[in-house]
């Protein structure tokens, strides 16, 4: 069928909407661009990512690296000499891939970066359209694999938050429980990231959405209801966790550089 589209205009952005329809994609574009720019810069630094018992989430888990948090020691010998090294390069692909293939982010960046469409009922710049039906965007279907990795990251970041509550006394060398502002920052980080991960559409499918009958499986039904409840706030978790993970890196970085002081509450 060929629709007649009597009022369709070929000019990009044409619409009868009198509201500020361009504002939302603009805000999303600026928010995502700011995060991508900061996280890329932070990943390339390769320094100031740990401060005492705090480890920046951009560098966790630190598989190889120069801080005491490194699992296997310093830069590996097999790393190509011509390639700059940063512990973040080894891990950031995982949370990055999880967010890039996320159902919420997909809808948001298709609008903000591709204008596909810019907003509802607004004319697009291109006639051709393949959607996620063919290469390359068909790859978005691997989202659940990134989810599995993201779940492991939540466990690792929770351990980081736990470690952030134990401080070593410089005089005695003894480790004791305490709460600093950084402890709260890293704890909130894992809570927000956990909210984002546990509200994932793919997780909702895996825990129960894949089944038509849940009444005979009370645990599965409870898990499905719980993820479904969180899923209604997925967009909110996506934004707050994005902002907070960036802020967590900034906090640790500023403390490590001696610009900010990490206040101990007790």
């Amino acid at each position: 069928m060929s629709s007649l589209n009597v009022l369709k205009s070929s000019s990009f952005g044409s619409t009868s909407r009198p509201d500020t329809w361009w504002l939302q994609p603009l805000v999303v574009f600026m928010g995502f661009s700011a995060f991508i720019a900061y996280s890329t810069w932070a990943a390339f630094q390769g320094a100031h990512y740990a401060f005492g018992n705090y480890l920046s989430p951009f560098y966790s888990p630190e598989i190889f690296g120069s801080s005491p948090h490194a699992i296997f020691g310093g830069q590996p010998d097999w790393w190509p000499g011509w390639l700059p090294f940063s512990p973040a390069f080894l891990i950031l692909w995982a949370p990055g891939g999880f967010r890039f293939t996320c159902y919420y982010y997909r809808g948001a960046y298709y609008k903000a970066f591709w204008a596909d469409p810019s907003n509802c009922a607004v004319a697009e710049p291109r006639d051709a359209y393949r959607g996620e039906n063919s290469f390359p965007l068909i790859i978005q279907n691997i989202h659940r694999y990134f989810l599995y990795i993201a779940l492991a990251f939540i466990a690792l970041l929770a351990f980081d938050a736990y470690k952030a509550m134990f401080f070593v006394d410089a005089a005695t060398g003894r480790e004791s429980f305490g709460i600093g502002v950084g402890s709260i920052v890293l704890t909130l980080n894992v809570i927000f990231l956990g909210g984002y991960t546990f509200s994932c559409h793919s997780l909702r499918h895996i825990v129960g959405g894949c089944k038509d009958l849940l009444s005979g499986s009370p645990i599965r039904r409870s898990a499905y209801n719980c993820v479904s409840c969180l899923n209604t706030k997925h967009m909110n978790f996506a934004w707050i966790s994005l902002f907070w993970v960036g802020f967590s890196d900034l906090y640790v970085r500023m403390c490590a550089m001696g610009i900010w002081t990490d206040w101990r509450l007790f």
């Binding site: 629709s3 007649l4 589209n5 009597v6 619409t15 809808g107 298709y110 279907n141 959405g209």
Partner: protein, 253 residues
């Protein structure tokens, strides 16, 4: 009482233009009331489809100030006061006349979807029993009034004319109601991928925004169906695990 100005699309087929009208607005009036007043007093030949005037028949779908809405459910006091209100026909379907479009494509496309196929009856008298927990998920989809506003706002149909390749959000809701039904045993996942083109949906959620019944189309119908398609076509590890666990490949229990 105040006066409101309207720009209404007039014409037949591909030919048409906006014509300006005004109407006296009383408290509680909806856009359809104003259109009826214009029909009665100024343009008796203005074509407009309507029926229940209660947001349940889905007949008076149009685009008000550029957004797909039901004319009978759009209150005049929701629109910017003092500004001319634009009323146009839906753009994703062939135009017939004035505010009326030919939505018959939706019914033809619906016929291609595999029908409800219940499992064998639970009892000898031929009846089934269902748990409310299992029915809850699909009951939301039964609210659909087939107004086709979601089809109209979907850019895959509206901007790219993919009517042959993509069934659109309304028919995804219809498919989800069947596919997730606790009694249904049909497998529609291959059709969803090949015939209904679910991969064309890029999750902009515009369909959810315009639904007058507030069905969460994208999150509760389209994405769960996309995930079921992933189960069958794009998850080799999941399929492997199911083979080892001797589980049924189907999403059906």
């Amino acid at each position: 009482m105040s006066e409101a100005r309207f720009k209404i699309w007039r014409g037949e087929g591909e030919e048409g233009r906006f014509e300006e009208y005004s109407a006296q607005i009383d408290e509680g009036m909806v856009v359809l009331d104003a259109v009826h007043q214009i029909q009665a007093e100024k343009a008796p030949d203005l074509a407009c489809r309507w029926n229940c005037k209660a947001g349940k028949c889905g007949s008076c779908s149009a685009e008000i100030n550029g957004m797909p809405k039901l004319m009978c459910m759009t209150r005049m006091d929701q629109l910017p006061e003092g500004e001319t209100i634009t009323i146009e026909p839906m753009k994703a379907f062939p135009h017939i006349r004035d505010l009326v479009t030919d939505v018959s494509w939706n019914y033809r496309a619906k016929k291609k979807i595999k029908k409800f196929k219940p499992r064998a009856p639970d009892t000898e008298d031929g009846s089934w029993s269902m748990s409310q927990d299992d029915v809850d998920r699909v009951q939301e989809f039964r609210k659909c009034i087939e107004c086709f506003l979601c089809q109209d706002v979907c850019h895959v149909l509206r901007e790219h004319d993919k009517h042959e390749e993509f069934a659109g959000p309304q028919l995804m809701v219809y498919t989800a109601a069947l596919e997730m039904h606790p009694l249904d045993v049909e497998d529609r996942r291959e059709d969803l991928k090949e015939e209904q083109g679910i991969g064309y949906c890029n999750i902009t959620k515009c369909c959810t925004k315009v639904c007058p019944e507030e069905i969460t189309i994208t999150d509760n119908a389209i994405i769960p169906l996309k995930e079921r398609v992933v189960d069958k076509f794009y998850d080799p590890i999941g399929k492997l695990l199911k083979i080892f666990s001797s589980a049924d490949d189907s999403s059906k229990e």
